[in-house]
Every structure is written in C-alpha cells, then in structure tokens.
C-alpha cells in the first residue's frame, strides 16, 4: 500500500480537497483492507461519543468516505488508525456542537465524583448483558468530554500515550495524569448506575 506513505495533515477536517496538490484515491481493495482492520474501533468511538447507534453508523460511513477522499493529504507521520481517529473525533465533535448536546455532559467539578464515590478503587462489576453497554454509555455521557475521549482512546491497545496525547492536544505526561482522574470519575459514576437489587417482601 505504497500510496499511504505521505504526510499526516494537521487537521484533515479543515483542509479542503482543492488545497491538495494531487487527489489520490484508494483503490477498492485498499479501502476494503483499511475498513476491515479499523472499522470496529472507529464505529465504537463514534458510538460512545455520540451515544446513538444510527448516528454512529452514519459517522463511520462518513469517516471512511472522507478517508477515501483525503488519502492524498495523509503523509504517513502517524498510523492510519491515528489518522482515522483524528477524522472521527473532529467529525463527532462537529456533530455534537451542531446538536447542542454539550449540556448533557455533566460537570467538570471533580469534587462531585469524590463525594459521590463510595469506593472508586474497587473493581467495576457488571452483569454480562446488554445492560453493560447502557451503563457504560450513561457513565460516559456524564463525564466531561476530555475524560470521555481520553478513556476511549486509551482503551485502544494499539495507541501509545504519545498518540493519545497527539489526538487530544496534550503531552503523554498529561495523559497519564488525567487518566488517573478519569478512571476515578468513571468508576464513581458507573457504580451509581447499578440497578438496585430486587427488594425482598416484608
């Protein structure tokens, strides 16, 4: 796939096709291979950022179509996955801003979670059902966008802290520091989303 050895644009969302000196298209087989390898993490990121499966489908389609159109702007300074993540993050953030959904993202006041948490150091338990996905979504929606994105990216084992830092506009040391607080915030909120045990009859 020699066509993929060009330079990563700083922001593919703000670069127009006309500014590209040469428009390079993926051949279908190349697109198929990229889609096969990366569509799951891209769809999952979109799903958890947007919180809606239908919108996540649309976003995944749009991200790969953009990648198809903008391959000529990809300069290989990062991995394909990191480039796709960049497009996904920008795309989803634009959608979220358009939909004025920022108000549901909760509070940045960490003391809220500190007070709410019974014990955030305990393991996170959940029944292995669809309920888990719903609880995860509820928890992520309540987190600040920065923490939500950080956790979602760090969960991808193929990304390094440096790459996560590059995608979130901070150093790898900052990623490590914020990750600790993001974990605590997630655990505090997640444990609050647990369904109460069934009440025994008096």
């Amino acid at each position: 796939m020699s066509a993929l050895t060009t330079e990563l644009p700083v922001d593919p969302e703000t670069t127009t096709a006309s500014s590209s000196p040469e428009r390079v298209h993926l051949v279908p087989a190349e697109l198929d291979a990229i889609y096969e390898e990366h569509s799951r993490p891209i769809y999952y990121l979109a799903l958890r950022m947007l919180g809606d499966p239908t919108q996540a489908e649309d976003a995944t389609h749009d991200v790969f179509l953009k990648a198809y159109r903008k391959l000529g702007e990809f300069k290989g300074n990062s991995s394909i996955r990191t480039w796709l993540y960049r497009i996904t993050i920008n795309h989803c953030q634009n959608l979220l801003q358009t939909w004025h959904r920022r108000h549901i993202h909760g509070t940045d006041d960490e003391s809220v979670w500190e007070r709410a948490a019974g014990n955030t150091d305990s393991p996170l338990r959940a029944l292995e059902t669809k309920e888990l996905g719903q609880r995860i979504q509820t928890t992520l929606d309540a987190l600040p966008e920065e923490y939500r994105l950080l956790l979602l990216l760090v969960a991808d084992e193929k990304l390094s802290y440096e790459e996560v830092g590059g995608l979130t506009g901070q150093t790898s040391d900052a990623v490590r520091g914020k990750l600790h607080r993001a974990r605590k915030a997630f655990a505090a909120i997640f444990n609050q989303t647990a369904c109460p045990p069934p009440r025994s009859p008096p």
């Binding site: 389609h61 059902t129 974990r183």
Partner: protein, 77 residues
C-alpha cells in the same frame, strides 16, 4: 494498549480481572479499570454490515481521480 499489559487499579496496584458467576447463575464480569471495561465493550460491539454496503455504494459514486497536466503530457500513472 501496549503499556497496559499490567492491569492497574486507580492506586496503581496490579489487579487481575476475573469472570465470576453470581448466585443467580448469570454471567458477571469484573474489570480493574475503566479502559479495561471499554476494551471489553468494544470487542463485543460489531459494526453493522449495512455500513460497508453503504460505503461501497458511496465510493462507486465518487468522481474518478483526475490526472494532472504533466501526467497527461508524459503519460504517467
């Protein structure tokens, strides 16, 4: 992530996750960290097949790559 081979809890201690059955014989799963839970969730989340079909149709509608003047002149690829 590669640097998460050891699973850390929020105090930085190693902690292994384990699958457990509860008293109601329902499968329950336990995670040491949020990202471990998200990783599991991602593995369970499949991309709807309709996305690939729709993408293929969209790509077929895309304009063909244009050849620059020097490619036309010299017959380059």
């Amino acid at each position: 992530m590669k640097h998460h081979n050891s699973r850390l809890n929020s105090e930085g201690q190693e902690q292994t996750s384990s699958l457990q059955n509860n008293t109601e014989h329902q499968s329950a799963v336990e995670f040491a960290t949020a990202e471990e839970m998200l990783r599991h969730d991602a593995e369970q989340t499949a991309v709807p097949p309709a996305v690939a079909d729709r993408l293929q149709r969209s790509v077929e509608l895309e304009p063909k790559p244009t050849r620059s003047w020097w490619q036309r002149l010299f017959g380059g690829v």
